[in-house]
Symmetry: none
DNA sequence: CATGAATGAGGGTTCATTCAT
DNA sequence: CATGAATGAACCCTCATTCAT
């Protein structure tokens, strides 16, 4: 058993209490990293940005998907709270997709590559739930066409977020408004056509 | 274990004439690789699949973008020829986006990250040209709403291709048909609404 | 994803009395770990298997060698007790080496890399003591050749344990029996030859 | 596609001709490394010792087993040549195991952990072949007992090499001579006993 | 002009060890 | 005295890029 080399004393150990703090810092760092560098940024960059050791990153999030899920879960919880609190509209949903595109909806891409992960499926189901309720209410009120189905909304939201997150920041507003118009037109009452 | 070859002569060096042949082989290999393994596949895998040395890959395509451009250029030339040959419809365009999503439209994503590259801009301009003519003709014939602008089409095409290329193969048809319906409804004559 | 526990209280702190209990649990865990995963298993796995904190592992056993020594010490104490209790034969010794090969004699390898550690030397001396008495008695009874020396036995025991611990479980019996035959033949009365 | 950082120009590229040379250097380095640091030395240490890039190490030997096999293969080829050239005795075999224990027979351990690898099995078969011929000849000449089987020899050789490679260099001669005596006695004509 | 081996930096992951609670 | 999270160095491996032949 060769003695392990012990070069430098470890840096500060903030102790056990740093756990939850680190977890939050990692999620926040992930938002920044993925917004700045995209979903292919090095996983270790998240630890560096959070000011946390590599090991702690892996303790909290054993793989990329776990971290992506944690970030998206926060977005989703926020969305659910908002939906419970009042009348959420399709525009609310899309607006969130746009503003959060930069920071976290880009994670959709990551998540979609792990589509069969049960944790991912659970998040998908929760999002679908929100969409279904929204759709029922808006259709009942005549603000959305009867031809619209939940899957239309979830796919559109994903496409919207993806397109925005890949668009130059100084063109995001213009592109967002264009896509919103397209979707409004497609989902408006009376816009339904027989599928091809 | 058989003795390792001490100094096998270099494989066939097909000489100067192999240049264009290699170029074509590399582009074809790129289509396969990106269809099979996605846009993050190792660049060097293209050379291997093409049966060509690494050096030749770099000689022909100094970076990933150069190769992506070459692939997309072929798609575009084909589209232009088709457009010149007859009445190209919006559905023709979308159908191509769908069928080529797997092999090459995923390159859109790659290309969009190099949006300011002049070669990329030139391709974008050529694509826009095709779309503008298509739009004029179809609007004149009353098959597309007057509210539709070329940028709507180019963005939609990109979103469609992206979404399809990231969708599970066995759900591609269903998703494609759903997106097509959305876009039809959005672009149909009379679907126009004031922008938000 | 359920909300992560923000600050779960530390698990039961069983207080001062848990010291000896933890020590025993760690030694038992070490046997299991090394039997299941081999001597290169992570040191920290022992703590986990014992259901004990990392800190306690290091408090009781500051390094791998300390733990290996503790495990082997138990084996040895058991052997000494057995030897005191009655007529221990060479086959008893070998049988123990075989059955304990899996769980602890593999530690011989670990210990041998720290051969100059005084604790290791002390264990070696105790083992040698047992062997010497055994040898005297068996030679006096004519069951072992006069040419056999204690070192022959200690080396053979180590080789036997090592070979068994590295053999596929389903071939251990066959290999063990073969090695036992070799050693019997070598140590039998009358088997002595001049050394080369 | 973020541009890859290009910090420093790569060191000398000795070109394609360095291939076979590197392969030999790696095998030689492996002998040294495993003799000095044991079979658990970092794989990358071999590349460093050989003065070769990590990538070249992996090109030539995709995993540890491949390298171990290459080293052992050289030993084995040498042994086969020696056996073909004249009368190889059991002592020749054991002497080789002892002198090569330090540099490469320790690989037996590594190889035995991959026992089901077909490349490993092929080497085992070749070694067995040498042993079988040796045994036939020596038994016919009355220099080895009829009770000895090839498996006895292969196991003994492995145990001998392992024990020597783990013994302190300044005690190797003594231990080797002791083990040789044991094996001589066990394999001598007339040493056979019924198995237990 | 093609070839394909060499190179080494970079990212992923593990794990020995420390230390606040 | 126990706990278990934090830490970061080390190792593994891949792959973009270069360059002698």
């Amino acid at each position: 058993m060769p003695l392990p080399p012990q070069s430098a004393p470890p840096r500060t150990n903030r102790g056990r209490a740093a756990g939850p703090e680190n977890r939050r810092a990692l999620i926040a760092a992930a938002r920044e990293i993925y917004a700045d560098d995209g979903p292919d940024a090095p996983f270790s960059a998240v630890a560096k940005r959070a000011g946390v050791g590599q090991g702690s990153l892996y303790r909290h999030f054993p793989d990329r998907t776990a971290l992506a899920i944690a970030v998206y879960e926060e977005n989703l919880a926020d969305l659910e709270a908002y939906a419970r609190a009042g009348r959420i509209t399709l525009d609310d949903l899309f607006t969130r997709a746009i503003t959060q595109a930069a920071s976290s909806m880009g994670f959709i891409a990551l998540i979609e590559s792990d589509r069969h992960d049960p944790r991912v499926e659970a998040l998908g189901a929760r999002f679908l739930e929100v969409v279904e309720r929204l759709l029922e209410r808006e259709q009942a009120a005549g603000r959305l066409g009867e031809h619209v189905e939940p899957k239309d909304i979830t796919i559109s939201t994903g496409m919207l977020a993806t397109e925005i997150s890949r668009t130059d920041p100084d063109q995001r507003d213009a592109v967002a408004s264009r896509i919103l118009t397209i979707l409004h037109n497609a989902f408006a009452p009376g816009a339904g056509r027989p599928k091809p």
